[in-house]
Symmetry: C2
Amino acid sequence: MRYFYLSAIILFSLLCSAQTEQLIQYVNPFVGTQRMGHTYPGATVPFGAVQLSPDTDTIGYEDNGQYNRRVYEYCAGYQYDDPTIVGFSHTHFSGTGHSDLGDFLIMPTTGDLKLNPGTEENPESGYRSRFSHDNETAEPDYYKVLLEDYGITAELTTSNRVGFHQYTFPEKEEAHIILDLKHGIYNYDGKNIWTFVRIENDSLVTGYRQTHGWARTRTVYFAMEFGKAFKSYGHKKYDNSIYNGFYRKFDEEQNFPEMAGHDIRAYFDFDVEGGEQILIKFAMSSVSTEGALNNLREEIPEWNFEEVKTAGQESWNEELSRIALETMNEEDKLIFYTALYHTCLTPIIYEDVDGKYRGLDQNIHESEGFTNYTIFSLWDTYRALHPLFNLIQPDRNRDMIKSMLAHYGQSVHHMLPVWSHYANENWCMIGYHSVSVIADALMKGVYTDDPDYALEACINTATYPKYDGLEDYMKLGYVPEDRNSSSVSKTLEYAYDDWAIAQIAGIAEDYQAHDKFIERSKNYKNVFDPVSKFMRPKLSNGIFRDEFDPLNTHGQGFIEGNAWNYGLYVPHEPERLVEMMGGKEEFSIMLDSLYTMQLTDEHIEANEDITHDGIIGLYVHGNEPGHHIPYLYNWTDQPYKTQERVRMICNTMYANAPDGLCGNDDCGQMSAWYIFSALGFYPVCPGSEDYAIGSPTIVSAEIKLSKRRTLKISTENQSPENVYVQEVTFNGRKLENWIIRHSDIMRGGELKFVMGENPL
Amino acid sequence: MRYFYLSAIILFSLLCSAQTEQLIQYVNPFVGTQRMGHTYPGATVPFGAVQLSPDTDTIGYEDNGQYNRRVYEYCAGYQYDDPTIVGFSHTHFSGTGHSDLGDFLIMPTTGDLKLNPGTEENPESGYRSRFSHDNETAEPDYYKVLLEDYGITAELTTSNRVGFHQYTFPEKEEAHIILDLKHGIYNYDGKNIWTFVRIENDSLVTGYRQTHGWARTRTVYFAMEFGKAFKSYGHKKYDNSIYNGFYRKFDEEQNFPEMAGHDIRAYFDFDVEGGEQILIKFAMSSVSTEGALNNLREEIPEWNFEEVKTAGQESWNEELSRIALETMNEEDKLIFYTALYHTCLTPIIYEDVDGKYRGLDQNIHESEGFTNYTIFSLWDTYRALHPLFNLIQPDRNRDMIKSMLAHYGQSVHHMLPVWSHYANENWCMIGYHSVSVIADALMKGVYTDDPDYALEACINTATYPKYDGLEDYMKLGYVPEDRNSSSVSKTLEYAYDDWAIAQIAGIAEDYQAHDKFIERSKNYKNVFDPVSKFMRPKLSNGIFRDEFDPLNTHGQGFIEGNAWNYGLYVPHEPERLVEMMGGKEEFSIMLDSLYTMQLTDEHIEANEDITHDGIIGLYVHGNEPGHHIPYLYNWTDQPYKTQERVRMICNTMYANAPDGLCGNDDCGQMSAWYIFSALGFYPVCPGSEDYAIGSPTIVSAEIKLSKRRTLKISTENQSPENVYVQEVTFNGRKLENWIIRHSDIMRGGELKFVMGENPL
């Protein structure tokens, strides 16, 4: 792996433009590609609509729709330990724990035409190829690999909506470009509703793929242009769709310019010379093939691969330069900028160059006055990713909120997104955390447009009775476990979300709504069992369920967590939580136990989405519900333990290596946690202005807040041993209560940490 | 059957507006609904996009895609002899011999909810109902029936793009409206690609149906509005599509506002009082549900069923009044206006109220300066239907040609339509007869816009080498039977079409193209065997195939015909045909034999698409290839035999009865033949200005040619016995050669036939 391979052009532009540092050299796209990170190493621009990346396998469901452990590994299409590459597809989630996508796989081959992908064990049986990490390079918006079985060098880069492929062939021979529309991530028979390919001329192809997967009804259109005319083409259908047309007029399989079926694979034949390159531009659209073609012509009018790559990498340098950094070592810098890179992959831009996109109602909409985004993994990202955007990407976050409100406007349920992608609500996970993202942005002055409409959207979302136990929650003040599983998690998250809505109501000056949702925000108390001192599943008759194992992560009222770690979820009233649990001292002891508990392997295995390294005692950093927990010591008399734990997690749970993420990156949430923590503070309760102070790992940093304002973070006595904060000052004034407010930060200035090797 | 039931309002408007005669009283929509006519009795406006009609059955394919005789009977969804109605669907072909459509079946029921259609033998097993023709009424744009099993009176009318249902319930009970998206005509498992329903609110529903049938990739969107809010709703899925979303948050089947699957049936529940009516507006669009909703709101803003019906029937009176008529008896008038009605059903308007439509490339297009039409059954309709339009519907025919040219512009094959419907080329039948329609309209001054572009489109169509033997045809001058079946039919039709292209080239003043296509137009000679005096299949080695049975309609080089009847197809050079066949006398004898030959039952059975009554000797009036044959005596010395035959065909092959059509009406071609022949002339060679004189059946007629001009056709001594024309004069001048020219007619005036009981 040579992940900071620098092309001559980048070196040249580095010399020419001293202004933008080549920060892409500190990004290692392979981080998270091994085991549970679920990131992809391929090419994309910041928040780019196209993620062009190698797929090393995409094992389909074996039993109709049944969960298949191996499928899960391929959420991002790539697993670092795999020996073969199937091809390069154009859409990938970054870090998710469920999947879809993998649209439009392209693979260059030579020799006999093979249309099936073959297997890892026997790659010769299909079109896939062996590869080695020695011949593989990944940089922001650039990926290169040698496809060993063919000797073809594959290079990939992208603009926002267009993937650019460059394939260099080793010798004079017959070459094929496979376009596999059957391929997909989390594929199974029947997932493809329809696939369609149209040969516009001898170098331009259009079409679409329509799927019924995690996104229930999704169509992606494409326009694919070759730099060289193909000499022939054809396809095979891998389904039993019946078509009796043509009346023996045509041979449908060969050189017939319109191909259609549930599952088709097309191919294009070329004669190539040794060293010859075949270039392909591949544009996508949610609107139409016409939209895709417009995107193609607008974004990449020329055939200059290097130019597109350079432009993409420049855009990365620009995004990364929002935070300048001095670290204790090179490794930390690599971890930091790779994390920052991972926070700039999701949500993605979801509209054509003319602003049109297919909405939730399947009609074509136009974004007016904003850029429309999709992929909202909100149960994850409301925690730290969107708060990070409020700090360094306020314009994008504002547009993301407008995108969520547009979703609400198109929703037949009149709800904001729960977990949405490509104009589909997939209903994944729990809560209605859009309201937290909106509250946080409103509170921090990032979204100011229409608080009344935002409030209406939030209230409608939070009162849709059919949604996930909400009817009971509104009636009883909690979700009863006998009627709805994961009832405690849901009650706790609804309560927090309701607090967020109350904040919005406050800004919108709707005091009745404010009071109503403040009251709902106290509902966490209804699932607290004062006897066991745990949050605990309650039945519809008002009695706690007898059966209760606080260590068990399944069937105990929690989702992807248990009473020990998920039960600490009262981010909006940590003081009350501490009080309920027996006061500061007892709470601190409880936190200590959480971090030091010896678990059985069985209990560890039961935790989802993480590697074993992702657990410290019963604290699970590899999943989201506990991300605020290390900071909770700040509400006891032992904030130094927060500093200890945060520094420890930064050092042990993140690394500059393929297995450098201890769990799913979850669209950047894991990485956003790192960015905040490395800088020394964290948003424990989004929707509030407060950041809790931790222990910075950096030596110094400069955050561009706006064109005129900068936040400088500096440390004194910083060292690997000096993890304890002795004093924090902002613009010379000492901070109280281990809290710094967003509005203070936004005035700009210097946040200074004095570090020491002993607790204060 | 009470097909001239007149509503109070029509009577009223009849009294008020003396200007437009109530010609709809002479239309019997049941004509052709029995046996082979393949017409539908339901409601539609002239050339209307919605054809809302009862389906009495739609037997699916039994074996994967294998031809199924019973399916064939249901091309239009309705067979007069059937005892039950399954429901009312919104799209129907008129008179075709293959099918598709039947979109969006609606059925009102009461009592227990049944979601399957049940069977004819056991209607109680499903939602269908018995009915009787005694309680059934069909008028232009109005259909009424009593659904006996429920006591519900169903009434249907339409605007252009919206179906309007009115269901009257007999007593207080629970009612259901079924919306069956699985239903379709020519359905089979896997034909539905996707179906989608969205409950916008308690009385508005949108959605779409996407099929892979005769139209390879077709999507129709709808918006459905109820006059009364439903109290609950739900659906069932009849397929194995997997959806793992919802995460147990929702019960998908009941009251969940978004339904999707390959095959779904939805239902809506109501409480109704005795005598209560449920009204439904059902709009369609090829663009989007938004487009359908716009169509609905624009075309039928109110809830007044009678108003919509009256407007629809007025538009029929207007179309029918283009020809005023005096006949020898009431029956002839009924036959004539019913035939005229059938010529105004196809092609249909295919665009939203804003001019947008989904094109052949599946992108959204806008018709600029014309109205876009679809359903072009050109192998049938170029013969007499489009020529009839040039006479009485020039504006529509101009727009149809613009629609065909738009198709060409969107075609990946760069071809004009062969047989197209709903922006799909289905490639049915042979030839490229768009060129004939264009030539005829150019020659007659109906289409004048851009002859050069029209010529380009025609030439590209006629030189696409992959199309149906064209490569060989261009190389050898004929289609060789050993490489392409129906080779003689193809050669003959290509030759005629090439002559038509030469006419266009002449108008476009491209003399090189003119000469080239005139040369190609002689290719009929290459399949003429001077020994047997038959057109005969030739092999690629230039030798006629040994095996040859001129009576056999299968495998003998012809399609839906044989050497006897199809071999007479040289419409552009009948003189040469007569000459080749041995001169006038011999040719006349041959024609006599054709009409008098005694056939075995086996030979009769082999003829497609017709009833036994559709044959006279070996002349098959129930199918198209011979439609010009009765007029060929005009090129012998015995034109009186043309007069005899034409009058005989008019009297025996058309009737005012459900079985009143002797074969498929074929989108109005059979009926257009009748209109021309009843008026006394026929376009033997579209693309030429000449009409051949026959024997009029009318007493007199007035054709509105334009606002200012009228053609009056009058007869002297007209009677059932006086079938022979003694003299024909146009504006007092005696016609020579049994020919009248279109440009003469268009000057207006009087065409006068003197009839007699003996040949001249």
